[in-house]
Structures are given as structure tokens and as C-alpha cells.
């Protein structure tokens, strides 16, 4: 399931809801990205490309499910203004065994970082600075296209 929302969410509750009633899945991996309270940043603002966002995240999810058959996935990505400590993005993957869960969750995050249409702005006081994507994120995503 994919949710793109401005509302804050509760990572622990999302993790528990995701696993509720499943007795066939031995291994669940979750990732949560939080706003870091570095320097004097008072907030992070994420802009996105509305309906297009769900489409693109959907493509990433389908790729993961094809690559690791049998996994289940849950993705939440927020947009709008968030304070330090707040969750931005949540990914959970469950499967029968841990290797698939770890690898698929890593793949989902590497792909979201470089392919989901979001743009980040760090707010300090009344100034905003747009964040450039990092070379390490492109490198992380690229490894998946080189591997079968």
C-alpha cells in the first residue's frame, strides 16, 4: 500500500498495523526517515508533483514485488512542512525470510531517494535553501540496475 500525505504518522503504529493478522511472514524490516535537527534548521519543507507521485512510487513498488516475489510492502511519504524529529518517509517489507525483507527495503529507499518526485527545502528562520540530491544516492540506486 502507498500513502502520500501531509499529515504526520506514527511509525510504530504503522509497523504493527502492517503485521496485524499475518502468521505466514517471518521477517519484517522497516525504515523510517526523520527530519534531522542539524545546524539551525527549524523545519523541512517537501514539495511534490501531486498525482504523479503515487504513479512513480507505484512503479517502484511493483519492481520490488517482481524482484522479490512473495514480499508485501507498505510505503508512506509525506509532503509539506515538518519539524526536526518528525517522520518523513516510512517503508516496511515483510517476507518469509530476512534476506528478501532487508534487500527489498533497501531497494525501495534507494529508489525513492532518486526517483520519487519530491524536492526538499531546509528552512532556517525566514530563509529556505533547496537541497541538492547527493552523488551517494545516485550511486546507491545505480547498484540495483547493475545486479540481476
Amino acid at each position: 500500500m502507498i500513502k502520500v500525505q501531509s499529515d504526520i504518522f506514527d511509525p510504530g503504529a504503522e509497523l504493527n498495523n502492517f503485521m496485524q493478522g499475518r502468521t505466514d511472514m517471518g521477517a519484517v524490516v522497516s525504515f523510517t526517515g526523520h527530519v534531522r535537527g542539524q545546524n539551525d534548521i527549524s523545519a523541512l519543507e517537501l514539495e511534490h508533483y501531486a498525482e504523479y507521485t503515487e504513479t512513480e512510487i507505484g512503479k517502484i513498488e511493483i519492481q520490488a514485488q517482481r524482484r522479490w516475489p512473495g514480499i508485501h510492502t507498505h510505503i508512506i511519504h509525506r509532503y509539506g512542512k515538518m519539524k526536526p524529529g518528525e517522520p518523513i518517509v516510512f517503508v516496511a517489507v515483510c517476507s518469509a525470510h530476512r534476506q528478501d525483507s532487508f534487500r527489498a527495503a533497501t531497494f525501495l529507499m534507494d529508489s525513492l531517494k532518486t526517483r520519487a518526485p519530491f524536492w526538499k527545502k531546509e528552512i532556517s528562520g525566514d530563509k529556505g535553501v533547496w537541497i541538492e540530491p547527493k552523488a551517494s544516492d545516485y550511486a546507491a540506486e545505480k547498484q540495483w540496475t547493475n545486479k540481476v
Binding site: 517537501l46 508533483y49 524536492w119
Partner: protein, 82 residues
């Protein structure tokens, strides 16, 4: 009417997040950029950068051929989500 969308920091350069325009007959992405940028020379140069992706009708433009009907054009700078 066609919806023109400027994403991320492009909206600050364009002076708006989106606007509605009546597109003339256009043959190539270059002509589309020239029309959208109008007199804004720095915007025209920026939109032509290879790092800026053009999304037409919510699909990435592949090749040099514009679709017959253009309902929406979005210009995307490099992403920084997650």
C-alpha cells in the same frame, strides 16, 4: 488550455508554481521551452539543461516528438526526496 507546472526551485525562477496557457502549434520540446520561457532568458536556459526533465501529460517525454494533445507540462529539477 494547457497547465504548465514548475517544480522544486524552478517555480522560484519561473515566478509561479503553475499557470494556464493556450499553446500554439509546436513541433519540438525546444519550441515548447521557448514558448513557456517567453522573455525570461535565464529560465529558457535552465529548462534546456539535461538535468531538467520534461513530463508531458504525467509521462516522461521520450524522444523528440511532442504528443498531439498536451494537457499538462511539468518541468522537474533533480529529485531530493526520501
Amino acid at each position: 488550455m494547457t497547465r504548465i507546472v514548475f517544480l522544486g526551485w524552478l517555480k522560484e525562477m519561473a515566478g509561479c508554481a503553475e499557470r494556464q496557457v493556450e499553446l500554439p502549434s509546436l513541433a519540438t520540446p525546444e519550441e515548447l521551452i521557448a514558448f513557456v520561457a517567453g522573455d525570461n532568458q535565464s529560465l529558457a536556459e535552465q529548462l534546456a539543461e539535461p538535468s531538467i526533465r520534461m513530463i508531458i501529460n504525467k509521462s516522461v517525454l521520450a524522444g523528440k516528438t511532442l504528443p498531439d494533445t498536451i494537457e499538462e507540462v511539468a518541468f522537474m529539477p533533480p529529485l531530493s526526496g526520501g
